[in-house]
């Protein structure tokens, strides 16, 4: 058997070759060493056989172990030339629609992406979008914005995963799902949980100030933190003013105050080293192991005392989850109050709260003020799922034909759209929020693009006026609940897009028209007669959709956001 002799052959590989290969894999190889290795590989079959298996294993370990959860587009790459793209994309677009399980796709925008993950036989599906034609005036193939949009922010080292009444010092935009890079972070109120990309996670209690250094290291400048470090992140470091706490597989807590700092080991053990910034005394240079139940206090003068660890002084993950869930329940009353005020607003044309008494309910109920059965929406395909809070329902739009059909009567000089939306992927060139069937005079198409632009298209005259925001949605927004709104103000002749209560784009109306809807869909589009971009199904969830017959002010939109913010 050839493989029987394999291990024997490996033993014949010279120590020098083994050293060079090891250096190449885990260190760096000088140019002369590289030349030497090439020479050996060119002549020695045993070394070659060893090298080939070694790198096959190295590649497999890399695939198998490398963290992938935060990075759906790593392998996306822009192609070089448009002619390639067209040939390739046409071909793939044609079969990708029919053969979804195959995880190959070309976004015809020039993105060629093959993704495969750790599963030995598996490939992760990547969605595809229809080709862009020459007539389109949006992100062009030669525009690097699509590429930029899809590239992972390599600065990210941690993510905010849970918060409770949290306020951040100078970062108003910090919320659940926010990606964090290197640098200082100040929590002035509440509690927050941060998960590092290495797997370590840290609960922070205000007032606290920390500095994120890498996926494996942080500094606690002031306040209380509790760190839980799973196996993959062993070696995670928390630095205090006096100590460097090196995790050895454990849960520990740190408190930094004016009088000094404390390290408590709640599980496992840690190694204490003198802080890089601390004044060094010879005695303090000795690393010290601190075990479960132990705590050490270091005062500003540098003298230390061993005390008992006090787990109850530090909020843990479980407790935080309980508190957060209780907090969300207390939102029920606020939500109901807000809904009843909406019902009294005469300008509300459409009011879908996405409530359902039963899973089998296949109608979206309109909540007034003008109760009308004709405003009920018919749910097609979509499944009920969890909304902004555990107790709130949402509809999930996943499959190509998932949609809500409805019909909206009337003609409006101005309208305001408002929607709570969770985007699960920027799959299509255009993803629908609310679109009228086809695109006739006065009909609005409210949607977003694959590069995170909000878009209101209104057919006026012969063409559609397209009111596009910059790329305000980001890949990092995938999976979080966000509020989008759009005001078509016929009086002021302008269109304003809002994200999370703030205006993000204001555009003059190109050609005036009255807005009318008729047959329309949420989360999808019936584009009969249209050739391009007919697939606009949404990948995500919606748990509230409102339509007003007047232009809401910025303040009112801000209020909608604050009232509904999860």
């Amino acid at each position: 058997m050839p493989s029987n002799s394999q291990e024997g052959r490996w033993r014949r590989v010279s120590r020098e070759a083994i050293r060079l290969i090891s250096q190449l894999t885990d260190g760096s190889l000088s140019e002369s060493d590289a030349a030497r290795l090439r020479q050996i590989l060119a002549h020695d079959d045993d070394t070659l056989a060893y090298y080939v298996r070694w790198f096959d294993l190295h590649a497999a370990l890399h695939d198998d172990l490398v963290r992938s959860g935060f990075d759906p587009f790593t392998l996306a790459r822009r192609s070089r030339r448009r002619d390639q793209e067209n040939a390739v994309s046409k071909w793939l677009t044609r079969h990708a629609t029919r053969w979804a399980p195959v995880a190959l796709a070309v976004a015809a925008t020039g993105l060629v992406a093959i993704a495969w993950r750790a599963e030995p036989t598996g490939v992760v599906p990547v969605a595809q979008s229809p080709p862009i034609t020459a007539a389109d005036g949006f992100q062009r193939l030669d525009n690097p914005s699509i590429q930029r949009f899809r590239e992972k922010d390599s600065e990210t080292i941690a993510v905010v995963t849970k918060t409770l009444d949290a306020r951040w010092g100078d970062r108003a935009d910090c919320h659940i799902g926010s990606a964090l890079g290197r640098g200082r972070l100040r929590l002035t109120r509440g509690v927050a949980q941060i998960e590092f990309l290495s797997g370590a996670n840290v609960v922070l209690e205000a007032p606290a100030e920390i500095e994120l250094q890498s996926a494996m290291a942080m500094r606690c400048v002031a306040g209380k933190i509790r760190a839980n470090v799973p196996n993959p992140a062993i070696g995670f470091v928390v630095e205090t003013p006096s100590k460097r706490v090196v995790d050895l597989g454990t849960e520990f807590a740190v408190r930094v105050g004016a009088g000094g700092d404390e390290v408590h080991v709640l599980d496992g053990e840690v190694r204490l080293e003198p802080s890089t910034s601390a004044a060094r005394s010879p005695a303090a240079d000795e690393p010290q192991i601190l075990r479960i139940g132990q705590a050490i206090r270091t005062d500003r003068g540098g003298s230390t005392s061993l005390v008992n660890a006090s787990p109850i002084d530090f909020l843990g993950r479980q407790r935080l989850a309980e508190l957060a869930s209780r907090e969300s329940t207390s939102r029920v009353a606020q939500w109901q109050d807000y809904r009843s005020r909406l019902k009294a607003d005469e300008s509300v044309v459409l009011n879908y709260g996405f409530n359902a008494d039963h899973e089998w309910q296949r109608m979206l109920l309109h909540d007034g003020p003008h109760a009308a059965d004709s405003l009920e929406g018919a749910i097609v395909g979509c499944q009920w799922s969890e909304g902004r809070w555990p107790w709130k329902r949402a509809l999930e739009f996943k499959r190509l034909n998932d949609r809500v059909r409805l019909s909206i009567p009337g003609e409006y000089e101005s309208v305001t759209f408002s929607c709570w939306l969770r985007i699960d992927g920027f799959d299509r060139w255009l993803s629908s929020i609310l679109l009228t069937d086809g695109h006739e005079l006065g009909e609005p198409h409210w949607q977003f693009t694959e590069t995170g632009q909000l878009l209101l298209g209104v057919k006026a005259g012969d063409v559609s006026s397209d009111y596009l925001s910059p790329s305000v949605l980001r890949l990092l927004d995938v999976g979080r609940w966000l509020h989008v709104a759009c005001v078509y103000d016929g009086g002021e002749k302008r269109v304003t897009h809002y994200l999370d209560g703030k205006p993000v784009a204001r555009l003059p109306i190109e050609e005036e028209t009255k807005i009318r809807f008729g047959a329309a869909e949420i989360g999808n589009w019936v584009g009969e007669g249209f050739v391009d971009h007919t697939v606009r199904s949404l990948n995500g969830r919606i748990d509230e959709l409102l339509l007003f017959s007047r232009p809401l002010s910025g303040k009112e939109i801000g209020e909608l956001y604050v009232q509904g913010r999860p």
């Binding site: 083994i18 030349a35 060119a42 056989a49 080939v52 590649a59 370990l61 993959p232 090196v246």
Partner: protein, 171 residues
């Protein structure tokens, strides 16, 4: 989509892990292998019509990957790839290393479960957290050489374990 196209997509999908390995062998590392792989995929798509059904897809794909790796090395102003094409093809032919990638990866999964926690943690730091060996060494309070030695032993153990399992599977 006709059968021919669907066959092509299946081939290309199946070949991804083996192509990645192959490119790593040529470049001597994983860092830039993804880029070269994606460039390779693009060319393969473009040339889809040239592929003869029934012929060896992986060999055909490696041919393309080889030249992509060469031009990558040239563009980044470095010397050649680590192994010449005829040498690496001979090595592949004399072993089954890139032909049964799926089996090997399943075997690897099993072999990983046989590692001690300590070994697994080290691999986790090296691969999952992508911690440089220098840093691992300082975290563990060991010398760099000792960490490299341990990593080498773990890998060698895994290589042998995979061989053993593949052999048992074929028996």
């Amino acid at each position: 989509m006709d059968d021919r196209e669907s066959d092509f997509v299946t081939h290309l999908t199946d070949a991804q892990p083996a192509l990645f390995s192959y490119i790593c062998m040529l470049l001597g590392g994983v860092q830039e292998a993804n880029n070269v792989l994606q460039e390779t995929n693009l060319v393969l798509w473009k040339k889809a019509g040239e592929f003869q059904p029934g012929s060896n897809f992986k060999a055909w794909a490696r041919e393309v990957a080889y030249y992509k790796a060469l031009s990558h090395m040239r563009d980044s102003k470095r010397s050649r790839v680590f192994i010449d094409q005829d040498r690496i093809e001979a090595a592949i032919a004399s072993s089954s290393v890139l032909e049964d990638t799926d089996e090997r990866r399943v075997a690897l999964r099993h072999c990983l479960t046989e590692l001690t926690d300590e070994q697994m943690n080290l691999l986790g730091m090296r691969y999952r957290a992508e911690t440089p060996v220098v840093q691992i060494a300082s975290l563990l309070g060991k010398s760099e050489g000792a960490v490299k030695m341990t990593l080498r032993r773990i890998r060698l153990g895994l290589m042998e374990c995979i061989q053993r399992r593949i052999r048992a599977g074929h028996a």
